[in-house]
């Protein structure tokens, strides 16, 4: 595991390293707090006078709420407040823009506290605050809710049929590109179509055509820290929220919209966050906690348990996908067609758009058609999960590609190299790629020791898969204060889930010619830094890093101007280079000039903002060896290598970590993770015992190959890293299983019962 620069250095390359700080591996700034247990995560926050909340959740997957009687709960000693949806303002029909996407407020509000219907088991119905958690929970159980139970709709295809029970009476099918809406209530919220070229001609030109149907199960981000929110609605109407979130400003907007208060009256203080992966953007607890706090007059903390997290937050959708692809005799793709239905959960909003744009994103295909549907079912309202929508799609496409390779008798790597998307390739949705690095990741895999080492054992197999994610830019802000001793405090609004404080500080340090350790980065609340979009979409190192770079430019300009004034020379004669301010007859290091300027003038404060939109999409290719137990269908991973184009790796250790962690989430999705529902729509595995995320004993070391194809759209060439690595694993595993034991799996997860079923079918 080494970056290209490190390899060059090891090989004794003459080329001087391009950067001094970027590409090194400093200890993260928040490290000591996190290994000593001092870092304060969501549930570690204690506010003076705080009481504890509990949520009453629906036992039914689909029901009308006929009445709610809270009197017994209110009468229980120790209970301080009870809330229902009646305590939240009427949301009307407003659609709110929340940075990374639009939300129908009525749906968001009803998802926090159900209004007229419950749409999934675990849907929040009422909330209680009491002196301690035990009393709050007992009180919640005393709330009497009368339900009219309705038949649950759990299957995406059944939900689309015209006789399916309808979840949301206000939902009509919207044609994504024309805005036209259907005239009947339906579960199909959105319909998307992309077309390119002449698909009939494309298939007519094909020598081989493969068409397959795929299903994938609902899966969860599985962050180890459950959701928690602590809220004080102060006597003056100011609301403070302490919460672990991917976006403090997003929480602020959601609270302001849901509670009908001005933005400036809401302050969101980020706690350290114990994982998110897309699942900690939407609010689930803070609105109820706010209402309870207002009633009780003290801060209220509500914490989910694991069952709540799985049943009532935002997993990523299950899906049905049909893929048809054709190749000519030379192995060139001639046409591709996809029909995709994604489960939105209780309210509309699955990542079908991204799924439809990603489904053929790795290939240069002249003719294509993609059709996508966003479909409501009685499951929790889905939310983003690492490259949302892309993994489902890649599993389907890459499996069909593997079958085409078999028909062609072509090495899967060679097939991909022949058909790979590259600069200028036009996707089916019409957009062309800038400089991207899919080919480089394929070559990195082809040149890897892993690829060159053949498998020898029985029932062993090898598989390969590629994946894509767009990455994002969006808004970020950074403020920098130079202290009187020359040390630097850097304030940012991007909550740090995986070491981004350090990645941002390193870019600032690089720009200033300082060391990473000279900078003290801090993630601060919404009153203390400029607007910053969510930590998501693999945007933070790119966008907030760029804001830090801009702050450095601002600081350098100020230092140059003030040094010129101090030295009484023309500013044009002063420059800042490599950590020094240089005048006509002297050169002073940053620390010295900082001290001098601090004692002779105004405070040195700089700012940087960014809203750039050239995040440079990223590709990854994974290679996996498995051994399948032919008698039980169990899949063991023998070896795993993941190559990914990261543009420029700022902190290679954390880049590797993103690749390894994402790959392992993809492995879990591929092999064992699923929401297992009974016929009543009740999830039967809502715990970490039976919702089986990989343990360390299920895995080998994960070799991460960092490929660096610098992004021309960033000062240091950064591309986002975090999302892509979850995309290829299920497909790579499917190909490896087929290679090992000769059965194809068209449904996720490829759990032992499914693999064994196919093996037994093949035998008979």
């Amino acid at each position: 595991m080494a970056t290209i620069d490190e390899v060059k250095a090891a090989e004794g390359s003459d080329e001087a390293p391009k950067y001094k700080v970027i590409g090194t591996r400093p200890i993260r700034h928040d490290g000591a707090d996190k290994v000593t247990g001092r870092a304060l995560y969501g549930a570690d926050i204690k506010i003076k006078g705080m009481i504890f909340g509990a949520i009453l959740r629906s036992p039914h997957a689909h029901a009308n709420i006929k009445s709610i009687d809270t009197s017994k709960a209110e009468a229980l000693p120790g209970v301080r407040a009870v809330a229902t949806s009646a305590d939240l303002p009427e949301p009307g029909d407003k659609i709110a823009e929340l940075g990374e996407g639009a939300v129908v407020l009525n749906h968001l509000s009803s998802n926090n506290l159900a209004r007229t219907k419950v749409l999934y088991k675990g849907h929040a119905v009422a909330a209680v605050a009491a002196d301690n958690l035990h009393i709050a929970q007992e009180a919640a159980s005393l709330i009497e809710v009368e339900y009219e139970v309705l038949p649950p709709v759990m299957d995406v295809l059944k939900a689309m049929s015209s006789d399916a029970p309808v979840l949301n009476p206000d939902v009509r099918t919207e044609e994504a590109s024309t805005g036209e809406k259907g005239d009947k209530p339906t579960n199909v919220a959105k319909h998307i179509v992309f077309e390119k070229g002449d698909i009939e001609k494309g298939f007519a030109d094909a020598k081989y055509v493969v068409e397959r149907e795929f299903r994938t199960s609902t899966v969860h981000q599985g962050y180890i820290e459950p959701h928690v929110a602590t809220v004080l609605w102060n006597n003056d109407g100011q609301i403070t929220v302490w919460t672990p979130t991917q976006g403090t400003f997003s929480v602020r907007s959601q609270m302001a919209e849901l509670l009908h208060v001005p933005l400036a009256r809401v302050k969101v203080v980020p706690a350290e966050i114990g994982g998110g992966f897309g699942g900690k953007i939407s609010v689930y607890l803070a609105p109820a906690a706010a209402v309870l706090s207002r009633k009780a007059g003290v801060p209220v903390q509500i914490v989910m348990d694991r069952a709540d997290v799985l049943q009532a937050t935002g997993p990523t959708p299950g899906s049905f996908i049909r893929i048809k692809m054709g190749v000519d005799a030379d192995g060139r793709l001639t046409a591709a067609e996809a029909w995709m239905a994604y489960e939105a959960g209780g309210y509309p909003g699955s990542p079908i758009g991204a799924g439809a744009m990603c489904v053929f994103s790795c290939y240069d295909i002249p003719n294509g058609r993609v059709e996508g549907y966003d479909v409501c079912v009685n499951k929790p309202r889905t939310n983003a999960y690492r490259a949302p929508g892309a993994t489902n799609a890649a599993f389907a496409t890459e499996t069909v590609v593997d079958e085409l390779c078999e028909k062609l008798g072509m090495e899967p790597v060679e097939f991909r190299l022949l058909n790979a998307s590259k600069e200028g390739t036009r996707r089916i949705d019409g957009v062309t790629y800038p400089r991207v690095g899919l080919v480089e990741t394929l070559e990195a895999i082809k040149n890897s020791d892993h690829y060159k080492t053949p498998l020898t054992g029985k029932n062993q197999g090898r598989g390969i898969g590629s994946g894509f994610w767009f990455n994002a830019g969006l808004k970020s802000a950074v403020t920098v204060t130079v202290n009187t001793d020359g040390s630097v405090s850097l304030l940012e609004g991007s909550t740090d889930i995986g070491g981004s404080r350090t990645g941002i500080a390193m870019q600032f340090a690089e720009a200033m010619g300082l060391a990473a350790e000279d900078i003290k980065p801090a993630v601060v609340d919404t009153d203390s830094v400029g607007y910053t979009d969510v930590t998501g979409g693999s945007r933070v190192t790119y966008a907030t890093g760029w804001a830090a770079y801009e702050a450095a430019q601002d600081l350098k300009r100020q230092i140059v101007a003030r040094a010129a004034e101090l030295w009484d020379v023309d500013p044009a004669q002063v420059s800042y280079e490599d950590g020094h301010v240089i005048g006509p007859d002297k050169s002073v290091c940053f620390k010295e000039i900082a001290m001098e300027l601090s004692t002779t003038g105004e405070p040195l404060i700089a700012r940087g903002v960014s809203n750039h939109n050239e995040p440079g999409g990223a590709f990854g290719t994974h290679l996996v060896d498995v051994e399948v137990d032919p008698d039980t269908g169990k899949v063991d991973i023998l070896r795993y290598t993941a190559a990914q184009d990261c543009g420029t790796a700022i902190h290679p250790a954390y880049v590797e970590g993103q690749i390894q962690g994402g790959a392992v989430q993809g492995i879990g999705w591929g092999l064992n993770e699923e929401y297992w529902y009974d016929e009543t729509g009740s999830m039967r595995n809502a715990n970490f015992l039976d919702y089986r995320i990989p343990t360390c004993y299920d895995l080998p070391m994960i070799d991460a190959i960092i490929v660096e194809v610098p992004n021309p759209g960033h000062p240091y060439g950064v591309r986002g890293v975090g999302e892509v690595p979850i995309v290829p694993p299920p497909a790579a595993l499917e190909a490896a299983i087929y290679d090992a034991v000769g059965v194809r799996l068209y449904e996720l997860p490829m759990s032992p019962p499914r693999v064994l079923h196919e093996l037994l079918k093949k035998e008979s």
Binding site: R25, I27, R28, D30, G31, A32, K34, V35, T36, G37, R38, A39, L40, Y41, A43, D44, K46, H134, Q221, G222, Y223, I224, E225, P226, E272, I273, G274, G275, G276, F277, V303, D305, R306, I497, G498, G499, H651, A653, Y654, E656, G657, Q658, Q660, G661, G662, A663, V664, Q665, N687, F688, L689, I693, P694, T695, C696, Y697, L699, M701, I702, A704
Partner: protein
């Protein structure tokens, strides 16, 4: 309502007394009564290991122990691990290997690893993975965690070798 009990236990080397209802778990007592919030609640049923602490030399899930059961116990938590200055070899190794991303599983991981290395100072990768399977991490894919534990084992061996030399 059941009466609160007075429980006496040694926590990180100091004798502590606390008041405890029978229904309070040790984790709740550590976090809410004693303000030792290093141990985290991730799953509440013994499957994630985020609440791991060491009792009488053995790693346990503090979410599945009643506070009243701790009477007379010797409890070690992440807060007591680092020496007065600097860090424990496990803490240092986690930092040097970037073995944490979000960090929520880290205190539990380190405490379990400590109990494990105390029993098995020179483990194979297989033994580390087997024994640490009760500690879930969702960020890292475990690669760097396993390497950190390997490195800590080496450092501990070096330290005890140099200790032994000094005693001689």
């Amino acid at each position: 309502m059941a009466k609160k009990r007075i429980v006496t236990a040694t926590i990180n080397g100091r004798e502590e007394e606390f008041l405890c209802q029978p229904r309070q778990t040790l984790l709740e007592i550590l976090r809410n009564t004693l303000n030792l919030t290093g141990a985290k609640e991730g799953c509440s049923n013994g499957n994630c290991g985020a609440c791991s602490v060491i009792i009488d030399g053995r790693a346990v899930n503090s979410c599945m122990i009643l506070g009243v059961e701790a009477e007379g116990a010797n409890i070690e938590t992440i807060e007591g691990l680092a020496p007065g200055d600097g860090l424990d070899p496990l803490q240092q190794a986690f930092l040097e290997n970037a073995a944490l991303q979000c960090g929520i599983c880290t205190p539990g991981y380190i405490m379990s690893a400590k109990a494990f290395l105390d029993e098995n100072p020179n483990p194979t990768e297989e033994e580390i993975r087997f024994s640490m399977a009760g500690n879930l991490c969702r960020c890292t894919g475990y690669d760097k965690i396993v390497r950190a534990i390997q490195q800590a084992a080496e450092t501990r061996a070096e330290q005890s070798a140099s200790c032994a030399k000094e005693t001689v």
